[in-house]
Point group: C2
Chain length 353, copies 2
């Protein structure tokens, strides 16, 4: 996938539900490592001179290494692409909303063919090495970022302290520099009203839950992003293992609640799912939040065998395809919220019918 | 149409929208005349002996006359059919809810092949001669009941007073004994919030507005039954002419409001109609009132060319086919409200998809 493909199509690897374990509940897994180059100021203190030096070192590492994965990454510099294109990358979850805000030449993204491996360059840290996979694959994702990290470390001198671990721009990342997360679709837990209790327990285990677009974003469409809170005092392996265990427990709980719904409220469930499908495929305008909430019902219908005509990867694609930048990119023009709501309804119809 | 056809199929003449004038707004027209036989007590005071005499006289009049229309009427006696079957006749608008409540042998219905002409026997009066036509056809309906009335009057001695006119069981019917009504679908007037103002004016003109099933029933699905209030001091022709004029004025006002909606709120209108269609065709359970309200949106969509796949007569049939007795007759069993809601959703899908 070229950079242009990445910007013009909505599909990236994490959407490929057919290859993802537990993908009836786990949408995607992500692991990222924060890394910084020694002797270069952190991005928020970056000067043009250091910026050039930083980019040169990273490009050198990519070009001169012998690692196939690292060598295959394509590079986008944010002074070369539009605001809409940067938003496209945010909506695909490849970069953070904060990273998209500025267009300095030293900011950018390195990304492989299918969007499963990416490095944010000069976001909050010099490098944020990320892996995105479909379903519950935190261990697999960790193993892939580790490979990429190793390949980079052969050529780059990372800021590392024997006692503290990897040094990062924000103290909450110091240590492993790792954040691992899994996106879970939990409609039955949400319907049962147990969400709060479950997530209180999770916080006590050093984990946290966020919305679709990470820190500070609300939960919409019953999509909960479960991630580790702690980066010090635990090894990467422990964090990954804990997160996997908790994710599996939540997945089991969601399955239990789905079974209960199916048994005790079959008609009401089928009614709710049918109506949501009916509105999604017949509305003339749809807001983003309404669409995500209706898609949650339809996804539950697909997962429970109530709807058979829709593939899960289409629903994953839709999470992204209905976002503002994707809609505007597709239409080839800037649009106000009202026009986007109309285009969103069209896009949903196209994908679902 | 035999009596059995009438009870087993939902279609009757007034549903045939394609042949009804103004049928984008006027669903059906009805005219009825109340007539009583001299020397026989009114139905609420009826004895078995008088009951037999009454039925004999009416049957004689039907059999011995030379009028083709009168001769072609089939007869149902209410002691011969079930409660559900009597409810079927109520739901088709052929008899009043009150008439269906009792099963005495002298109560019944005489009805022609297509259900356009019918006589309720020993409802509140000995005879209630009725005509039902699709669209705005009050004059045509009056002309047909008049023919039937003339044919009956040749053989029967009606209670008539030179000064008061036809004598009836309830004083509000004395005089012409006539009630004429037209069922109007007024979603745009309802959306505009003008309903109350319009109907206040109508009351001052001696007309009244009721719900789908006449006196004491609420307005559902934006279906308003406009009828005359006064039966004395005006000729039949005046009443019919006034009602037609007022109906046409309301129809024009509804068209005006529809045009305005289309111009000023096109997307919202298409959105509302699309969603209602989506819910109707995908819900697993539907209450009667919800179905009628959603069908009102779909009908507006058909009338305004937003939905092209549905015929108006199907929507007319559905008004009746979704009612409790029709659902139970179709399923061949008694059902509670929850089961009926499920069967209703199925019936709607069958007719609309």
């Amino acid at each position: 996938m070229s950079i242009s493909d990445l910007l013009n199509n909505s599909f990236v690897r994490w959407m490929d539900a057919e290859t993802g374990p537990e993908s009836d509940i786990a949408i995607s897994s992500r692991v990222r490592l924060a890394r910084n180059l020694r002797m270069i100021p952190f991005p928020h203190l970056m000067t043009p001179e250091y910026g050039k030096k930083c980019i040169r070192e990273i490009n050198d590492a990519r070009e001169k290494n012998e690692d196939k994965v690292l060598g295959a990454l394509n590079t986008i510099s944010f002074d070369q692409i539009s605001v809409i294109d940067r938003q496209i990358l945010v909506e695909k979850h490849l970069i953070s909303p904060g990273h998209a805000e500025k267009s300095e030449f030293f900011r950018g993204l390195m990304v492989n063919e299918d969007g499963s491996l990416a490095i944010m360059v000069n976001e909050e840290d010099h490098l944020r090495i990320q892996c995105f996979l479909p379903g519950l694959q935190i261990k697999e994702a960790y193993s892939l970022v580790q490979q990429l990290d190793d390949a980079l470390e052969k050529r780059l001198d990372f800021a590392f302290d024997e006692r503290q671990g990897y040094l990062t721009s924000c103290p909450t990342n110091v240590g492993t520099g790792m954040r691992a997360s899994v996106m879970l679709h939990l409609p039955a837990i949400a319907l049962s009203g147990q969400t709060r209790i479950i997530f209180q327990n999770i916080n006590q285990l050093g984990m946290t839950v966020r919305g679709l677009y990470g820190e500070g974003t609300e939960v919409v469409g019953n999509l909960f992003q479960l991630s580790n809170q702690i980066t010090m005092g635990q090894t990467e392996e422990d964090i990954i293992s804990n997160l996997s265990t908790i994710a599996i427990q939540i997945i089991e709980q969601e399955r239990l609640m789905r079974g209960k719904l199916n048994k005790e409220m079959q008609y009401q469930l089928e009614d709710r799912i049918g109506r949501s499908y009916g509105v999604l495929t017949n509305a003339r305008t749809l807001s983003s939040n309404e669409a995500l909430n209706l898609l949650s019902d339809v996804r539950l219908g697909v997962d429970m065998g109530i709807i058979n005509s829709i593939k899960r990867f289409v629903l994953n694609e839709l999470i992204v395809a209905i976002r503002p930048a994707h809609l505007q990119k597709k239409s080839g023009k800037e649009m106000d919220a009202f026009s986007r709501d109309i285009e969103r309804a069209k896009a949903v119809k196209e994908k679902l019918l």
